[in-house]
């Protein structure tokens, strides 16, 4: 049973560019959440997708957007990248019927130069 998978694992972008990160949830999971983990910090909730819609959102600007596909996979898009967007981006999935028990992928390391 594959867990949560994310791609790419590492990438480097230039300030002002746009980036798309991808996530496939754990088998049987229909809810996907994205977190940002800056160096030395705990993960911070960006947003959550369920039934292809954004269900809730953390305190992140509109430059951060996402999408969920019918197969429950998800994308995180960040526009107009800033140096401060450099972080580990974590995808997490959870079972139908919600619940707070979530499972994380290995993350995508984004470096903005």
């Amino acid at each position: 049973d594959a867990g949560v998978t994310q791609s790419p694992t590492h990438l480097i972008k230039t300030r002002g560019q746009q980036v798309t990160l991808r996530c496939s949830p754990k088998s049987g999971h229909d809810t996907v959440s994205w977190y940002q983990q800056a160096l030395g910090q705990g993960p911070q909730f960006i947003f959550q997708y369920y039934e292809e819609e954004e269900r809730q959102r953390g305190n992140f600007p509109d430059r951060f957007s996402g999408h969920q596909f019918p197969n429950y996979s998800s994308e995180l898009n960040v526009n107009a990248l800033l140096l401060g967007d450099s972080a580990l981006y974590l995808c997490a999935s959870s079972l139908p019927a919600g619940g707070n028990t979530i499972y994380f992928g290995e993350g995508s390391w984004l470096t903005v130069v």
């Binding site: 705990g42 909730f45 959550q48 707070n100 992928g105």
Partner: protein, 109 residues
């Protein structure tokens, strides 16, 4: 607003010594508390949930509503316990977790 505080950035103990990683939360309702662990170069893994009242790898954690704490304990630390530990709080069955800043546990031989 919901908040999770882990007061120690680093906790260093010798093998065989007891370990207590502190976690305090602030939430007006009834939160659900978790401990996650991240070993070197591995993904964040769920260690404990307070609703399960389970013991994983010798670790236990008790929710103390009076002190709003959920400290992680282990009576005898092992070198393989060295990792980053995060306390997290969820509310309302939403799947949104608030994380503390994490504590690095270093177990010396």
């Amino acid at each position: 607003a919901q908040r999770v505080t882990q007061p120690e950035k680093l906790l260093s103990v010798f093998k065989g010594a007891p370990v207590e990683l502190k976690c305090n939360y602030s939430y007006s309702g009834s939160p659900e508390l978790f401990w996650y662990v991240q070993y070197s170069r591995q993904r964040l893994q769920l260690l404990l949930r307070h609703i399960s009242r389970e013991s994983i790898k010798g670790f236990t954690a008790d929710l103390n509503k009076g002190e709003t704490s959920f400290h992680l304990k282990k009576p005898f630390a092992q070198e393989e316990d060295s990792a980053m530990y995060y306390c997290a709080s969820g509310a309302g069955n939403t799947g949104k977790l608030i994380f503390g800043q994490g504590t690095t546990l270093q177990v010396k031989p």
